[in-house]
């Protein structure tokens, strides 16, 4: 976003969410909405993440549990199919990995600097039930 001078910024830091009227916004998917630059949807607000969830689509059963529980709407899901993590908004809280019911987990927390493909190649095996 372009840095504006004091005479150009919005009075009271009252910031619009959309560039146009948004009467029908509920029926539009996020990528179809005309978000304003001042909307945090278009900004990265995840700089301080230390751990990140990595998503393994081969194990996921699309139960949507992570989508329901994510406190920051950072789980991207379309037509009830899990697509992945919105890393611009995920803070790394780990709730999605915690509530994931699959075996092995479809979401596992790794260090922020770990490479996703490497982590996916080392994904844990299914655990056997203890008798």
């Amino acid at each position: 976003m372009e840095y504006k001078g004091w005479d150009q910024v919005e009075a009271g830091a009252v910031l619009p969410s959309f560039n146009d009227e948004s009467c029908d916004i509920v029926n539009k998917k996020q990528e179809e909405r005309n978000y304003a630059d001042t909307n945090s949807y278009t900004a990265s607000v995840a700089d301080w993440r230390v751990f990140k969830p990595v998503f393994n689509k081969d194990v996921c059963i699309d139960c949507q549990n992570c989508w329901v529980f994510c406190p920051d709407t950072a789980i991207v899901s379309r037509d009830k199919a899990m697509l992945g993590i919105d890393y611009d908004h995920c803070k790394g809280c780990g709730i999605c990995a915690d509530v994931c019911p699959t075996n092995p987990k479809s979401l596992i927390m790794f260090f922020e600097n770990d490479d996703n493909d490497t982590m996916l190649s080392q994904w844990p095996e299914k655990k056997k039930k203890e008798k």
Partner: protein
């Protein structure tokens, strides 16, 4: 629709009733309040008008003053005319939210009935709460009697809600001395008063669902400075709107208000600068000294405390030889606010009157005519000597050994 009240040409109201009546006539959408002495009758009176059908708006009784101002912020952001009243500890509890209100440019009107701050606990009038709020980014105006409390409460809405201002406004009056003393007040009719203020003009109302907006955004070092600068500019520029509203009110009522009030100043050689009901006491003392002692005494009062009228203050005091600034708030390790700000204003002019500072009236201690005449006697000495021959800061009306600083 709200019922109208038929008022007499002259009513006998105390300062709290003056506030409550002006708030009723403004037809406020939301008042969120938590009553506290000595402002309680303002809120009580307003609530009574509402329950008796004279007001259409909502009254929200909240669980603290922090919640009261928070409720006001929410309602103002939603898009309504909003006001509340408080005093002292309640005001102190509101402080965090006062900065939110001004930062969000919400034109809330706050009736502040001035009272001391604990500890020790004290319910009587001084200006500690008024001084506490002076960096909060609100327009601050002071009423010296009940009539002014009524007039300025009406004008507060018009000033803060002006589209070029959009800032919250505090109208001060002295606890008990003004708030609980019945005086003659000439009100406007309900229609005249409401039409003077006008309908509320919404700016970025949150209840406009077609345009969702964020109030209270987070801005760090890359944005915060610009927003605060714009807010400060709006506050500085509000001087003109304040003067214009004062002018419009004068043409309606023939009652004149100025950002800096001057009394007996045409030929004055010594002047007291004060706030609140002390202004009237000082004028009385000055008249007496002029008549019986031949002292050319005058009084200057900063009607508008924020934005501080630097140029007008310097202009009002440019011809005097000595000034006493009277601060009714414990200055906490420095000179009183009026001393500092009046000195700063004069330093920007050619005038160099001798200026000194008096701390007085804390916790509702009376400032008597004798006390005020002692101050005048001091500054007459300073004027004659052409330099400071009294201590720079003195306590007036205090028991025990004379307390002064920078002797």
């Amino acid at each position: 629709m709200a019922e109208k009240l038929k008022l007499q040409e002259v009513e006998v109201w105390d300062g709290n009733m003056a506030f409550a009546q002006a708030m009723r006539q403004a037809q406020i959408d939301v008042v969120a309040a938590y009553p506290i002495t000595p402002s309680t009758p303002t809120v009580h009176g307003y609530a009574k008008f509402l329950s008796d059908g004279y007001i259409d708006g909502e009254f929200v009784l909240v669980e603290s003053e922090h919640a009261a101002m928070s409720g006001c912020v929410g309602a103002a952001a939603a898009g309504g005319r909003v006001a509340t009243a408080t005093s002292s500890q309640g005001f102190a509890l509101m402080i965090e939210v006062l900065y939110q209100a001004s930062g969000m440019r919400l034109p809330i009107v706050l009736g502040l009935v001035n009272r001391a701050l604990a500890s020790p606990l004290n319910v009587n009038g001084d200006h500690s709460d008024m001084y506490l709020g002076r960096d909060a980014g609100w327009i601050m105006i002071d009423a010296f009697n009940a009539q002014e409390a009524y007039d300025l409460m009406l004008m507060g809405f018009k000033i803060g809600e002006d589209l070029s201002v959009r800032l919250p406004v505090i109208i001060n009056q002295d606890g008990f001395i003004t708030s609980h003393t019945a005086q003659n007040v000439k009100p406007l009719s309900d229609d005249t008063a409401y039409n003077f203020i006008g309908d509320y003009k919404e700016v970025n109302p949150m209840l406009d669902f077609a345009k969702p907006i964020t109030y209270g955004a987070q801005t760090e070092e890359d944005w915060h400075f610009e927003f605060k600068a714009r807010q400060h500019k709006a506050l500085m520029d509000s001087s003109k709107v304040i003067s214009d509203v004062f002018e419009e009110f004068k043409s309606l009522t023939n009652r004149e208000y100025k950002r800096v009030e001057s009394y007996l100043m045409d030929d004055a050689e010594v002047a007291i600068v004060a706030l609140g009901s002390t202004v009237e006491s000082a004028v009385q003392a000055a008249k007496d000294l002029r008549k019986n002692r031949g002292i050319k005494a005058g009084v200057v009062a900063t009607r508008v405390i924020r934005p501080f009228p630097i140029k007008e203050v310097a202009e009002a005091l440019k011809n005097v030889k000595a000034i006493a600034t009277l601060d009714r708030s414990a200055p906490g390790g420095t000179m009183g606010m009026l001393f500092n700000e009046i000195s700063a204003a004069l330093y920007q002019s050619e005038s160099r009157p001798v200026i000194s500072n008096y701390i007085y009236g804390l916790g509702g201690r009376d400032m008597t005519q004798a006390d005020i005449k002692e101050v005048y006697a001091d500054i007459v000495k300073n004027a004659k000597a052409g330099k400071l021959v009294t201590p720079l800061q003195q306590f007036s009306g205090l028991r025990g050994p004379k307390l002064s600083f920078f002797n």
